[in-house]
């Protein structure tokens, strides 16, 4: 099979490029070693759409962040992905630093920045710690769901002709007359252009492609996810004044009504563990922003790994191999920057300057939780499966799960379903619905329950039957 472009790595960056190149009317394939898109850093982060005041001026980070902010809000609305321009505060007691951030933001072209005193801050967040005296308010900052945005970008691309290959690990890349011949255990294709957006696996892929290696540092960020039933702490994102390594431990609502507190920033290898020290550090630091955070309403600890290459993103044409694009070190604000990176790669690096084609619209997942009574009744009358609740915490019906199983990327794992329709995302963390979701997947995909996986290959829930036939 021949393609114009092959993208290796299905995180937010890879999927944004997949989407953009599909809009450019190219034949594109996304190759992902995992069993779904957004299974690396794109599923475990703060899901903040940054304004862009934090990046050093004249960097790729600054440029793509500010442009990406604008593009992301537009894209998310087009794709019906939940997004909210709730704004963000950076708070502390060092007015000089606040001024510096303000000026940096101005230099980056960020609009809607305001320096606030304590009284003004309190009108936005009444629960702020008493030690906080000043802060920066960024109007254009917002929140979304990083994995839902990634999924939606890929889905829209697939509906419009792109292809996605899961569980596929490229093993060999050979230059040929067409461009490159890419070979995996389950794949043999040709592509004129290859894009390495493998994130944490960048160097592994670069080695196979024969392109530049980059020194990568992994920094792990751990989080708390607090229950939606707590008394709201804040309706916008609050950062402390930033440190050299990260934007610090933030507190933010999620688009689904829960609260995220984190992340830490630890030098690490590429593993997403959580640690006692890390979680305690979050508790200690977060109280500097808001004192009484109900950590006893924690429903999930998770962690993600940032991939860092020096001070800036690497978005470049390989000089070693023609027609290969290297994307490395896309750490924060990578989620925000992704659509801008995609635009730059498509138009500037690859030179596809033609206008975007009109895309067939993606059908958003039904969300019973968000419907009113009349809409629910209409839906249930049409299909009674929407009246069968499977996940009690997030009010997810059988109909929604079946819909997700038939969605464009054909997800088949429990976690993929969880990301799409939120079954198991609530306070009981699947205590009630896990076995029902496993059963639903098995029945609808016509596979045995033993074959159903949590996330990637090998993560089967069941090891054997009770009373196996002798």
């Amino acid at each position: 099979m021949n393609y114009d472009v092959a993208i290796i790595g299905g995180g937010i960056v890879g999927c944004a490029i997949l989407n953009k190149l599909t809009r450019k009317n190219l034949k594109v394939v996304l190759i992902e070693k995992g069993n779904d898109v957004a299974v690396g850093a794109s599923k475990a982060n703060s899901s903040i759409i940054h304004a862009g005041f934090d990046c050093k001026p004249n960097t790729l980070k600054a440029k793509f962040n500010v442009r990406g902010n604008e593009l992301t809000f537009k894209l998310a609305k087009e794709l019906s992905v939940p997004i909210k321009q709730c704004g963000a505060l950076v708070v502390g007691n060092d007015l000089n630093m606040v001024n510096e951030l303000f000026n940096r933001g101005k230099a980056n072209g960020v609009k809607g920045l305001h320096i606030l005193n304590r009284e003004q801050l309190l009108t936005k967040v009444p629960k702020l710690n008493e030690n906080i005296t000043c802060g920066l308010f960024a109007e254009t900052s917002g929140i979304t769901s990083a994995y839902l945005l990634t999924i939606a970008l890929a889905e829209e691309a697939v509906i419009n002709g792109a292809e996605v290959k899961f569980n596929t690990k490229i093993k060999k890349c050979v230059k040929n007359d067409f461009g490159y011949n890419l070979i995996a255990d389950n794949l043999n294709i040709n592509a004129k252009y290859v894009i390495n957006s493998a994130g944490a696996s960048y160097n592994e892929v670069a080695k196979i492609l024969g392109t530049e290696q980059h020194e990568i540092e992994f920094r792990r960020g751990e989080y708390f996810l607090l229950d939606s039933n707590i008394e709201p702490l804040t309706n916008l994102t609050i950062f402390p004044l930033p440190s050299k390594f990260s934007k610090g431990v933030l507190i933010t609502p999620t688009v689904h009504g829960q609260t995220i507190v984190g992340p830490t920033s630890y030098e690490s290898d590429n593993t997403t563990i959580t640690t006692v020290d890390g979680l305690n550090e979050i508790k200690e630091k977060a109280v500097n922003i808001i004192k009484d955070i109900p950590f006893n309403k924690n429903i999930r600890n998770f962690s993600g790994v940032r991939t860092i290459c020096g001070d800036d993103f690497i978005v470049e044409k390989s000089t070693k191999k023609q027609n290969i694009i290297n994307l490395a070190g896309i750490c924060s604000p990578g989620l925000t920057a992704a659509p801008a990176i995609a635009e730059y790669v498509a138009e500037n690096l690859l030179g596809f300057n033609n206008a975007d084609k009109k895309m067939k619209k993606r059908v958003p997942y039904t969300c019973l939780h968000d419907l009113n009574e009349a809409e629910r009744n209409k839906l249930i009358k049409r299909n009674p499966d929407y009246g069968k609740i499977i996940c009690k915490c997030e009010c997810v019906s059988l109909g929604e799960i079946k819909e997700a199983l038939n969605s464009p990327l054909k997800p088949n794992s429990v976690d993929a379903i969880k990301r799409r329709v939120r079954a198991g995302m609530g306070r009981c963390q699947g205590g009630f619905c896990l076995t029902k979701v496993i059963k639903t997947i098995s029945e609808n995909l016509n596979i045995s329950e033993d074959e159903v996986v949590k996330e990637n290959k090998g993560s089967n829930f069941y090891v054997s039957n009770i009373n196996p036939k002798k």
Binding site: L225, N229, T271, T272, I273, T274, T275, V276, G278, L279, N298, I299, R300, N301, F302, E373, R376, N377, I380, K381, P384, G387, K388, I389, K392, C395, R427, C428, Q429, G430, G431, F432, L434, T435, I438, K439, E449, D450, V453, K454, E455, N456, K457, G458, S459, N460, F461, Y462, V463, S464, N465, I466, N467
Partner: protein
Amino acid sequence: MNKNLMYDVVVIGGGPAGMAAAIESYNQGAKTLLIERNEKLGGILNQCIHNGFGLQYFNEELTGPEYALRFVELLSKTKVDVLLNTFVIDINGLNVTIINEKGQTVVQAKAIVLAMGCREKTPAGIMLTGSRPVGVYTAGQVQKMVNIHGKLPGKNCVILGSGDIGLIMARRLTYEGAKVLEVLEIMPESGGLKRNIVQCLNDNNIPLKLKHTVTRVVGNTRIEGVYVAEVDGFTPKLETEKFVKCDCLILSVGLIPEVDLVKNLKLNPKTGGADVNEFRETNISGIFSCGNVLHVHDLVDNVTYESKLAGTNAAKYALGKLTHKKPFNVVAGNGIRYVSPSFGYMSEKEDLMIYFRLSSRITKSYICVKCGENEIYSKFVLAANAGEMQKIQIEKSKINGDLTVLVRGQ
């Protein structure tokens, strides 16, 4: 409002609590609706296929499904309306919003009985650290996998927490050919029933390690093992940490009353359930609560007694027969972790039924109830564990003021 959707009493949850409450409500002459989210009645009892149920209430030893069936049969002789496969998604005052295959609608009640049971504490609830691979489950999840779905989630299991479901599952998994390597308990004593420790662990040579916990989970795709350490208080002694290879970690670390559906419910911080009066009525007039949504029980028999009380009184309330006069408090004194209910009424003639738990294990002590300076009840106890719920019944004629339940020596 559709007349069919108006009831004297709506009972939410068709487990042992809800069934007992619905039957008693009906017996009082109230038009009663029982709502159950699953396709059949019985609740968690349906997955508790071990025996030991009903020794107090039926004076015989039944399995969970058998115990449930007794009430399903009793219920079938009543005119209680039962809605299966139906979820309650909101309770607003005495209006109950339900959703099922027919659609969403509101049921109007004169009284509501909450009988939704409890949920299990998750890994996040104990801040379990390490990786998050497949193979980490709560004990109830594993019970469902094994007993309802006929599937084994692992062959070499470690159980964290010696709550009753964990102990029961240790035995069950052993019977099904899995090896239970050890049961870890962070406390100096098990919270499980003595009989379960003997029958489930000792009889199967499964070690119970007190003052031990899991410090982290290892494994990317599948769990490969856990690090286990001794604790000093709740702090792991890292020098004692050792790796235990396993393919399944099962948590039995506590149960939380599932109260989230009801807004503005006043909770008892000790139980996580509602704060109730002797009728098992919550701070919201007309809303009653019983079973594990009120406080987590260890014996279903006690759930039944408590729920009959809640069902009876909910019906009386709906029919305008309940009086709330001359209130008195019931307080947890020395050695008592909590009491339920936390207040009663001298105007009520029926005996006062108090459920409570001890703060810690006692030996050769008296459990007493004081009314002012007078000791109106006392019972000698040779030995009792904190894990075992206690129950006492007090004649109303003896009560003329606030009560304190306490433990004293000779």
